[in-house]
Symmetry: C2
């Protein structure tokens, strides 16, 4: 948990140059990668509630990085899409992310990284209350 806090904090520091926090950056990057999806789906991807996702979209929309399109098949839904500006910022986000991840894994081999992911997932399994 300590390590996770430090990583989140450092992400926020590095994204500060874009005037974004980690959640906003993740939202933008996801939308840029996966295209128009509903806010609920984005909330699931980000691991936050729908209300939080809506707020994040609000902020990014006000900055002109995202836009909401009505879903032709479901009038409840907003489909969220990147603007041209948003695409440009999303690329910078990816650059910062690539650099940070490289910094994080300095001195850690590929095998060790796989082992780390594997162990964390197994710990997560122990937290899921019997999902068969």
């Amino acid at each position: 948990m300590n390590t996770a806090n430090l990583i989140r904090h450092e992400y926020n520091v590095r994204f500060a140059e874009l005037d974004l926090n980690l959640s906003q950056a993740m939202m933008l990057a996801y939308v840029a990668e996966f295209g128009a999806e509903s806010q609920s789906r984005m909330a699931d991807r980000l691991g936050v509630g729908r209300a939080a996702a809506g707020n994040i979209v609000d902020v990014l929309e006000k900055r002109g990085l995202l836009e909401r399109l009505p879903d032709p098949d479901d009038r409840r839904v907003w489909l969220v899409q990147t603007t041209a500006d948003g695409k440009a910022v999303a690329e910078k986000i990816n650059e910062i992310d690539v650099i940070f991840r490289a910094d994080l894994r300095k001195g850690i081999s590929r095998r060790e990284r796989q082992e780390l992911t594997n162990l964390l997932l197994r710990v997560q399994q122990n937290l899921r209350p019997e999902t068969p």
Copy 2:
């Protein structure tokens, strides 16, 4: 980070039966273990700011689980100590913690747990900006 969030959430769920959240439980357990220390030192142990630590102590003091004693050597400082009630609750905290940790490491060998800790610490090293 995902795993850490799940762990924190599950801790909060399990401590809810004592009407405590994770930070309050950690505070109480630390004070019970290490005895009277200043709030700043407790803040460091918990990994939160001094203001947050002060608030946690406030809550636990109002519930009669902790008490503040003036430090005879430094009039700025409150030494924080457990009451008898606090000691009893701290024992329950430890029991819950032992059980949860056992649940978490189901199916994970001692060697793997050491490897996990080792890898996380090495990642943390990469986050410390040149502390020699």
